[in-house]
Amino acid sequence: MRTVLLYLLLTLIAHLLQTVLLPSLAPAGLHVDFFLILAVHATFTHGATKGYVLAILVGILSDLGLPPGVGFGPLYYLVAVFLASVLWQNLNLQSRRYQAIFLGLCTLLQGWGLGLILMTHNAESAGVADMARILVWRILVVAIVGPVLLSALMRLERWQKTSPHPEEYQQG
């Protein structure tokens, strides 16, 4: 129960960071996809099934700001979680280097998906060029910041597991 509440709280914090803080403080290229990091972390720590549930939740939240007729959030995060769970078993994703590459590739996948959507919406070529520039920055930023945040989340999870439950306090 505590873990569920923790993840709901973390999802809300990620949502607030992405909808309020980042747009006011940082240019589009420096936006970090906190939802992706959270979903990947959940997969590493709690397995694919719980990762899928979180992927659906953050996917819906991510799609809230999208214009009508555009939507890719749940599918994108689900694919990211699936890849994370497969690679977690077959590759050493505990290594920060691999984590950086993995998160960078996920961001690239998102940009590619978005590019496809924009192509179907007849976007201006100048707009697509801008998007490509932003995408390169985002890949770099998530590759640098992502592993650090994953490590911080691991510590938080460990602390949450080791800290005594309120009932234990009462008993003690």
Binding site: H15, T19, V20, A28, I56, L64, V70, A126, I134
Partner: protein, 288 residues
């Protein structure tokens, strides 16, 4: 891993994949505005966003106002507001003058713009993915808002409403790649469609090669399309390119509104236009 457990995880994966696919499909084929689930999510998260945004704005104001250049900051803000107001007035006078020259009925024109009721709203948050240019405001259907209503600020056009829940509404900014606004170059009356390019820029499309468009020209709404009232400032021409052997010129426009500092907007309260059923699908894709 035992086979049964592996099979179970594969089945679960397929189940979640189908769920995600159906959610995406529902979003793509959503009839209009916000779906029930989206509206519920917005109603749940927006109050927290509003509080956090208020805190961020307050902290930002305190930081800028007291720890920064105290007097200069305040004066700068006043001057900015004054310049914006003067620009708006200048735009109104220029428009009225041009209309006079063309022997149009100035009174009717002015009345049609000024008598439109406006409702102020606060910006609550932006698109979480960061790829699209939308924002959330704290007014909804209970305040009389509906889809396709125009959203403006003192500086010019902000965008239009694309989804409304009971207390909140989603605005598609003119910067977004899905936005399209019928526009006029104020000086020469050349027509075009202003489309968003994403990052702080717009492009005026379908302006004929021989039309007179110059850098510095003001671009205003044409009033066609039924969403935006006529004569509201959209932006300023930043770049003009006339390529060889092409029908249209490339015109780049910088929006009049500074979207990074947008905190309050005004919604033009008038009934949204009614489109024939065949146009609805096209409208859903963002053409205004």
């Amino acid at each position: 891993m035992p086979v049964s457990r592996q099979l179970r995880s594969i089945l679960l994966g397929i189940l979640f994949f189908l769920l995600a696919l159906s959610l995406t499909s529902a979003k793509l084929h959503a009839p209009q505005g916000l779906s029930f689930m989206e509206a519920m999510m917005v109603e749940l998260t927006a109050p927290v966003q509003k509080v956090v945004r208020l805190v961020v704005n307050t902290v930002g104001d305190v930081w800028r106002g007291y720890f920064g250049l105290v007097g200069v900051q305040r004066e700068n803000q006043q001057l900015r507001e004054e310049v914006q107001e003067l620009r708006r007035q200048l735009n109104l006078y220029r428009e009225a003058g041009l209309a006079n020259q063309r022997l149009r009925d100035l009174l009717n024109f002015k009345e049609s713009r000024v008598r439109m009721p406006l409702l102020p709203a606060e910006v609550v948050g932006f698109d979480p993915s960061g790829w699209f240019k939308t924002l959330l405001i704290d007014k909804g259907t209970r305040d009389g808002l509906g889809r396709d209503m125009a959203v403006v600020s003192a500086a010019g056009v902000v965008g239009r409403l694309i989804g409304v829940s009971s207390q909140y509404a989603k605005v598609l900014l003119i910067l977004d790649r899905n936005s399209a606004v019928d526009a006029l170059v104020q000086r020469s009356r050349s027509r075009g469609i202003l489309v968003g390019l994403g990052e702080g820029r717009c492009s005026l499309k379908y302006v004929q090669r021989n039309d007179d468009v110059q850098v510095g020209d003001q671009v205003i709404t044409s009033g066609m399309g039924g969403v935006f009232p006529k004569g509201i400032l959209l932006g300023q021409v930043e770049k003009v390119e006339r390529g060889d052997g092409v029908l249209f010129q490339t015109v780049e426009v910088t929006p009049a509104v500074d979207f990074s500092r947008l905190e309050e907007v005004l919604i033009v309260l008038r009934p949204p236009p009614e489109y024939p059923p065949e146009e609805q699908t096209e409208r859903r894709a963002g053409r205004g």
